[in-house]
Symmetry: C2
Subunit: 581 residues, 2 copies
């Protein structure tokens, strides 16, 4: 099996169509093995991919990609699809792992139509393809494949609602493995459960309510059965949902038994299912988790709210210890913001936890539901800054995005103790919604005890020097310190400032710098366009001070190592010194 005999014969979907049913089953086993081969060594999405191997084989057996268009929601379950579309070596051959991303990527293959990594978008994207097809008088199938977990996102509903009205071919495959990233929450999941129990016959069918024809397939990991059922909807002339019951982690016992842990995993031992040793240790996630653990012991009304990613924000323990204080609203970030606004309006002090850049799903809710109403909720962003992650999972846009929203206070801690002070400050005040962005990499953090209390929109001056002032925002205070060291060698005693606040300037302090500084440098762990540094530059626009902004360029980068990005953005002390000298 580990020879990948069948898999190695598959260079494109048409090779799948030539296989006997027996060979198809063999292919599935080899694909399972290849998924495990990759994810056990370099990490990745385990359960979602193991669950859809048979479904993917059946889809490519029945449909004719790329003429027929498949759109994979969130696309972290597209590994099997990649294997059948010329990219199998990226799974069985360790030397080719890095050639393949973990999401659909048009630059890899004509079978990947969109770059996708956020949930709940597939139906809308596919709806556009279907309408364009009709416009052009073409005749192919358009298929959106969406997991049950992604159905809780508003965009998925909007897409279904619109497409439910279509009068032509439109196929939605609902891959129901009874799980989101974590457990599913929300009334819809009661409906899916009833549909499973009744083999699709339950009353009050969500999909039918939105205008779709509907079919249920219980045997979602039986490739022959799937082929039979998919044949029935091929070339259908109206919108249909095929609700397929699959087993997340199918065929790999550790993943079947611990679905949440094996949704996405770091490298692990395939035999035992145990994680390989790695430098885990403390993270801002764990710091925030510890903080909330302490807090809930004193305040039984603490409400911690998350949108479907409790593991990613280190909340699994908290969830099990304090079920009454933990609210998982499902993958529904917009709702989360309005929900905590309502809680805060009632006098509670809710905290919303986001992983990385996903706050960007809520601009309008931050603006209207939260900030216009000045609801003093706390929001913590984790894993922010230049991370080198997948192109869909960049976390560099948040500072710029929130910077134009009135009433919102943004904070960026430079170290653990400051993060705790900021949390204290945010919970204590009652005037503003607060966003605290914590960085991905704690190792870059300097170890210092902030002397000055947190005070609204006041920066902290760590070292008073002259000529050059370095403003190191959040995680980049360390970079300011390192740069100051280098400047010292050049005979310059630079001023070092910890701005703390991302959303406003300490104009008194900035004004005071004019007297004995001619260069002000801003360092931010985020995109320059619309960010913090530009505000500093604008402040000094009419003053005799030169300003240099350092930060990320406005670009989408895909799995570029952090060190390479820092070099590209001139974010090393040597480059910074070179530029300002």
């Amino acid at each position: 099996m580990a020879d990948y005999e069948v898999l190695k014969t598959i260079n494109s979907p048409k090779d799948v169509k030539d296989l006997s049913f027996m060979a198809l089953n063999e292919l599935c086993e080899e694909m399972r093995s290849a998924v495990l081969n990759r994810v056990s060594r370099i990490g990745g999405h385990v359960g979602p991919n193991l669950g859809v191997i048979e479904l993917t084989v059946a889809l490519h057996y029945v449909f004719n990609s790329p003429v027929d268009k498949m759109v994979w929601d969130v696309s972290h379950q597209s590994y099997p699809h990649k294997m059948l579309t010329g990219r199998a070596a990226g799974f069985y051959d360790e030397t080719k792992f890095s050639e393949i991303s973990g999401y659909t990527a048009p630059q890899e293959s004509e079978h990947d139509i969109f770059t996708v990594g956020h949930t709940s978008t597939s139906v809308s994207l596919a709806a556009g393809l279907a309408k364009a097809r009709d416009f052009k008088g073409e005749k192919h199938n358009v298929i959106a494949i969406i997991g049950d977990g992604s159905l809780s996102g508003g965009e998925a509903f909007e897409g279904l609602d619109n497409a439910g009205d279509f009068k032509s071919n439109f196929i939605v495959i609902v891959n129901d493995n009874e799980m989101s990233i974590a457990e599913n929450y929300g009334g819809l999941y009661g409906n899916l459960s009833k549909l499973r129990e009744t083999k699709g016959a339950a009353q009050d069918n969500y999909f039918k309510a939105l205008g779709f024809d509907y079919r249920y397939v219980e045997e979602g990991n039986d490739v022959v059965k799937l082929i039979t059922e998919l044949m029935k909807v091929k070339d259908i002339d109206h919108p249909v949902v095929v609700h397929i019951h699959t087993l997340k982690g199918n065929g790999y016992r550790p993943a079947e038994e611990n679905k949440e842990a094996f949704h996405w995993s770091l490298p692990f031992d395939v035999e035992s299912g145990k994680l390989l040793p790695f430098n885990g240790g403390e993270s801002y996630g764990s710091i925030v988790a510890d903080y909330l653990e302490n807090r809930v012991r004193q305040d039984k009304s603490l409400a911690v709210v998350n949108a479907g990613t409790p593991g990613a924000v280190c909340m699994r323990d908290f969830r099990s210890r304090h079920p009454d204080n933990f609210f998982d609203v499902g993958i529904a970030e917009e709702h989360l913001i309005a929900f905590i606004s309502g809680m805060a309006k009632s006098g509670l002090k809710p905290v919303g936890l986001f992983f990385g850049g996903f706050i960007q799903r809520t601009y309008d809710q931050l603006s209207q539901d939260l900030c216009l109403n000045k609801s003093p909720a706390v929001i913590v962003l984790e894993n922010c800054g230049i991370t080198g992650m997948d192109v869909t999972h960049l976390s560099i846009f948040d500072i710029a995005m929130i910077s134009s929203i009135p009433n919102l206070v943004g904070l960026a801690p430079s170290c653990k103790s400051e993060a705790i002070r900021m949390l204290d400050w945010a919970f204590a005040q009652k005037d503003f919604p607060v966003v605290i962005r914590t960085p991905a990499d704690i190792s870059q953090n300097l170890i210092y005890e902030p002397k000055q209390d947190i005070e609204l929109n006041k920066f902290e001056m760590l070292k008073k020097g002259s000529k050059v002032a370095l403003l190191g925002l959040g995680n980049f205070l360390k970079l300011a310190e390192d740069t100051a060291e280098l400047l010292k060698e050049k005979g310059i005693e630079a001023t070092i400032i910890n701005p703390r606040f991302t959303t406003a300037l300490d104009e008194d302090m900035l004004s005071s710098l004019v007297e004995n500084h001619n260069i002000v440098v801003t360092l931010e762990d985020g995109v320059l366009a619309g960010g913090f540094g530009e505000k500093v530059a604008a402040f000094y626009g009419d003053k005799p001070v030169k300003v240099y902004n350092f930060g990320a360029y406005k670009e989408f980068t895909d799995r570029v190592p952090v060190a390479e990005l820092l070099e590209r953005y001139e974010l090393t002390p040597a480059q910074i010194v070179r530029k300002i000298m």
Copy 2:
């Protein structure tokens, strides 16, 4: 009736409870008259308010606001609620019209919990109130009142999905008048239609599918019937949807007969229902509409897409003339962006039309669905800039919001002919998604023929001067010209530049200014924080040029006249000259 005998006795909801059923009906008639009194003179939402008078009276009769909490979705139907909560004079007394806004406003009354003006938020906001109530061991009712049109928004679905799982009191009133702002689109509306036809008995009930108990009330404009039905759900111990069939515009024939025109209306003659004469004439909406009309005659594959506001973007005529080329996806802005991305990916050239600031509902979709995929769709924003509108309808944040999104090209025309050139350019190119923001006020626009062709990220220099360079973005090119006139009186021949692009700088041109300019002034019709001017300031950070940014402050303003805002933001030529001299 026009004496408002009963209405004048209502100072708070408890006064409603003392009325006989006969007096309640009289009250409804007086309220209808008061709505018409206001909206016919100063404009406003007509049909939505006329339709819910009986419902509002019944709600305040049965429930006990503000102990029981009512959250009005979008809240443009809250006029009757305002009348019953101490603000009736704002409707029957012309001298008090301006004291009352057209949306719920906590600063006006304790009965208004949130400031709301965007659709589809009520259920989520109310869900937060309900969970907070349970947390605090309180016992009141929480009621979200949402129109059928708002149900198409993803946030409403996310809220319903979450709340459908609640184990305590939660009441959603669905005010079904068979209309959104325009006609409803989407599969869900087929379901609502079946529910109406069957008096709530249809299979595949959308609300039941999400976990709600459900009740149907056909007589949605019968106050006694409504009281009877609402009594049945008062203090209910689980989530329930009360689906109420109302008549939009009820009791005023012109509004009943022309529901779309009377959703929101400028001042009109009550007797005839005819609009009063006003300075309508040409607008950027009509310019874009004419452009698309010309375009569709040559290109039968033109797809114009809008999210539920065809009237606001001047598309009613286009819609009726070219039904195959017009797609109203319902109030579902997120879906709209993904939908046009799918269309563009298939080789079509779709154009999405947004009114004012509502593009802000789509940050993540712009980033992920559209720009990450470089789908060359065109988006036109209408009615942008400093407008003096309601606090929920400000249109000053778009330039800042999109400025951090890679691959997106933003354009701001300074006049009609330039708008048309920009549309031509956007349709002709195939490399980028393009956002064209057109201003609210065409009268402020200068009448000039741009000489230079549109070229990616190239500014246009209109006049070459020295010492001072004025960059007037979009609508504010006129302000740059006026300021230059004033500077001329002071002996300065200023350079005038039309930047055209909001999302990138013409670095060659900016660099060339250094030689013989010592002041660069940016003028933008939007918020400064994160906007265009800050980018210019950052560019000149290390150069011997002073930069002054002029634009709107980061604040929520509520119905402040444009002239007052321009004065406040120092956006008059005299103020600008004073500051830079």
